[in-house]
Point group: C2
Chain length 138, copies 2
DNA sequence: TTTTTTGCAAAAGGTTTGCAACACG
DNA sequence: CGTGTTGCAAACCTTTTGCAAAAAA
């Protein structure tokens, strides 16, 4: 019953025109659990015939308007992830397994950090990823 | 008096052979305060005549042995930073100003997170960067 | 002397740009 | 209708690979 996400509404609130490619891209992103590269997302879009260039441009504009965020998995390429729920990752540097986590303490600590900062008085975003070997690879 | 860093010693303890390019690259990295791209580092090395390929390979091996780490500044390219002191960054998304910070609380919180994890039992590394507008740009 | 590293040239891969056609509002 | 968006082709830039020469241990 809660299955249909209103993509048009999302685009409207992001002040982006609702176009076929954008809706298709949003759809793919919303189904994606873990961060993916542009190329990976592109593969999933192949059936739609959407151009790679369009995907690059769309991801850039989505990022600017906060619909997706960039995630660094220490992999020489940038990964994107839907920004609908804020969470972080633990990545196995051997098998690339990813575990998500949320943590409220982090937000508190960040507030302390900002308080101490001389140049900044608030932050809009943050990234936090942990790296190690998972139990299987340890 | 404490000015000379013993680059050879660093390489030895990283189990890397001490070669001219590696020492030159270490030297540049040690002088660098903030994360830099491979290309930026390359420019600083121009006078030494070190090849770009060598730089790429060297940074990769330095990263593997923990001498440098990758930093994601949400900029479509990977930045490297000497790993001699562990700290994090606050980046102004407008003017690119960078402020460093250290925080011990973070490490504590990370330990809690790992305790809760089902797939991981320890981590070797982590990244944390904050993004926002600095006071000048706000 | 054996092994690793380097430099060069070339290839590969990913991302961006220019522009005309098209779609949205 | 005007403006923003798309698709295509080409350009661009960064990173990687193969191999022979040079340097390290």
């Amino acid at each position: 019953m809660k299955k249909n996400i209103n993509f048009k509404k999302i685009l409207r609130s992001a002040k982006l025109k609702k176009t076929t490619p954008r809706i298709a891209i949003l759809k793919v992103l919303s189904k994606t659990k873990h961060p993916e590269t542009t190329q990976e997302i592109y593969k999933k879009l192949k059936k739609t015939g959407i151009d790679l260039t369009t995907l690059y441009r769309t991801l850039a504009s989505f990022e600017k308007s906060g619909l997706v965020r960039k995630v660094d998995l220490h992999k020489d390429t940038i990964y994107y992830e839907s920004n609908l729920s804020h969470h972080h990752h633990i990545i196995c540097t051997k098998c690339n397994k990813i575990e998500d986590f949320e943590n409220l303490e982090i937000e508190k600590v960040l507030k302390q950090i900002i308080k101490k900062s001389s140049k900044f008085k608030d932050i809009k975003n943050h990234s936090l990823e942990l790296f190690g070997f998972c139990r299987g690879c340890a």
